[in-house]
Amino acid sequence: MVEVPKSDRENVDLVREEPVVPASELEAWFIREVLPLEADLMQFLRRSWQNRSDLDDLCQEVYTRTYEAAQQSIPRPVRPFVFAIARNLLIDRVRREHVVPIEAVADLDELGVALDAPSPERNVMARDELRLLQTAIARLPPRCREVVVLGRIEGLTGRQIASRLGIAETTVSDHLTAGLYALADMLLGEDSHSGKRS
């Protein structure tokens, strides 16, 4: 099992330590090593936690705890570290819940074994990446997709999109925000591999 700093957020806030790792290095590391775990992390959370509406919050909380810990020193290897944080977070939540779903804990024990398993190769080839992006864009609602296509493929500015489509700039802005939000979940949080899972 991997050592994980105590997950007591209050304590962390009281004696907040100055970040040691430079922000740019931290960000590059987070993008390179943590974000690619999101599909697996979400799958782990879905399997371990009944309440679907908590999943995004749990994921975001795991990220935040990981990021805060990494400000002091970057954990290596990262995968067991992130999943151990997720596990601790779930145990915290299970304790706080009124009714304790015993099997959630049992499942966590079972998953604990799998933590050291090598992660499936998630590096996609450039062509696959393009297909993946198109797939994601195709799933946006029509108007939102149209705005994102004009902005991201045609390279128009927000103002140009508004005048091209004859809609308000704030509407364009809302579509772009919604589009980016949805794309993030689709590109990071979902399993992009259509094959059967292991």
């Binding site: 399997r47 909380e61 990021y67 198109q134 045609e154 390279g155 939000y181 399993d191 259509s194």
Partner: protein, 326 residues
């Protein structure tokens, strides 16, 4: 649109934070960006590590979508972007793929039927079928479904399937099972067929269930969301259940079984549908024990561990059977 919500004392949800982060990133890239804006963003980021993480995530996705510029048309071609996108070959393959990822992990089959096609899943299997009109049918474990060439009639011979049907007034989708017809009136519904009992749960929309034999005086019923119809050869009853229970019934679509205060007998029977190793609960007192559980469909081991460690039961392996007793 900006991230000022952070200064409120209420707890921000991940959705709030991520939406703010997405708003910041698109604002930065599509609109005029002043020093005041930058200062405002810096303040928002300084508020919490959660904001920083969400911003990094949104920015990363934004950068990834930069590859899409490879698809830009040659300058000079004037066309509505939407029609271009729809028309392109790439879009069509993308739309097909979209279904794959929308449906998660199970395989997706596209098919052109000649007459009637039979689809089978083995124990523990799951299959997603996509019909020509975009309707989707997910087959659960140990299921047999036949589909007519028209793709508007299907027969569930065994097992369980979840239907998401694109409604067409002129050609309603009809499912035949256990001597009953289920006629879609714009619907998502779950049909489960065990022994001689048929269970139809309506998730969304409207459907009609009726006897397949003409001139019988069996009832016809219109189902509304949350309705579950239980039909045997000569009876039909409708039960209203909360949406949450239907959600649970559908959890197999995520390879998960959810039990809310279910007896061990029920849990074992349900797991046995998905696994070759069969659970046998010995003793009626043990069978009546109740648990709250979410168990992966292949989680026989997880279940036996719970039985052993938390309920203090004996677990014994006998060939393909696992016997659980006091």
């Amino acid at each position: 649109m900006t991230g000022n919500a952070a200064t409120d004392s209420h707890v921000e949800t991940a959705q709030d934070v991520r939406r703010c982060a997405a708003a910041w990133v698109q604002r930065q890239n599509f609109w005029d960006w002043s020093e005041t804006d930058q200062a405002e963003l810096d303040r928002w980021l300084a508020d919490s590590a959660s904001h920083q993480v969400a911003y990094i995530r949104a920015k990363f996705v934004w950068n990834r979508t930069g590859r899409l510029t490879a698809l830009r048309r040659a300058p000079g071609a004037v066309e509505n972007s939407e029609s271009w996108f729809n028309r392109s070959f790439l879009f069509r393959s993308a739309a097909a793929l979209a279904l794959v990822s929308a449906l998660g992990f199970a395989g997706v089959r596209y098919f052109e039927v000649k007459s009637q096609t039979t689809w089978r899943t083995p124990v523990g299997g799951r299959e997603i079928l996509t019909l020509g009109d975009g309707s989707k049918i997910e087959l659960n474990t140990d299921t047999v479904l036949r589909i007519a060439a028209s793709q508007r009639t299907a027969w569930l011979d065994r097992g369980e399937a979840y239907f998401q049907i694109k409604h067409d007034n002129a050609h309603p989708f009809v499912l035949m099972a256990a001597g009953k017809r289920v006629v879609d009136l714009g619907t998502k519904f779950l049909v489960r067929f065990a022994a001689d009992d048929l269970e139809v749960a309506l998730v969304e929309g409207k459907a009609r269930i009726e006897s397949a034999k003409p001139h019988t005086n069996a009832r016809t019923a219109i189902l509304a969301p949350g309705d579950v119809a239980l039909a045997t050869a000569d009876s039909l009853s409708i039960v209203k259940v909360p949406a949450r229970s239907i959600e649970k019934e559908l959890s197999w679509r995520h390879d998960l079984l959810i039990f809310d205060n279910a007896t061990l007998a029920d849990v074992a029977a349900e797991l046995n549908r998905y696994n070759r190793q069969k659970l046998v609960i010995a003793g009626s007192d043990v069978a009546q024990l109740r648990i709250v559980a979410s168990i992966p469909t292949n989680g026989v081991q997880a279940f036996t561990r719970v039985a052993k460690n938390f309920l203090g039961l004996q677990v014994e392996q006998r060939g393909d059977e696992i016997v659980i007793s006091r």
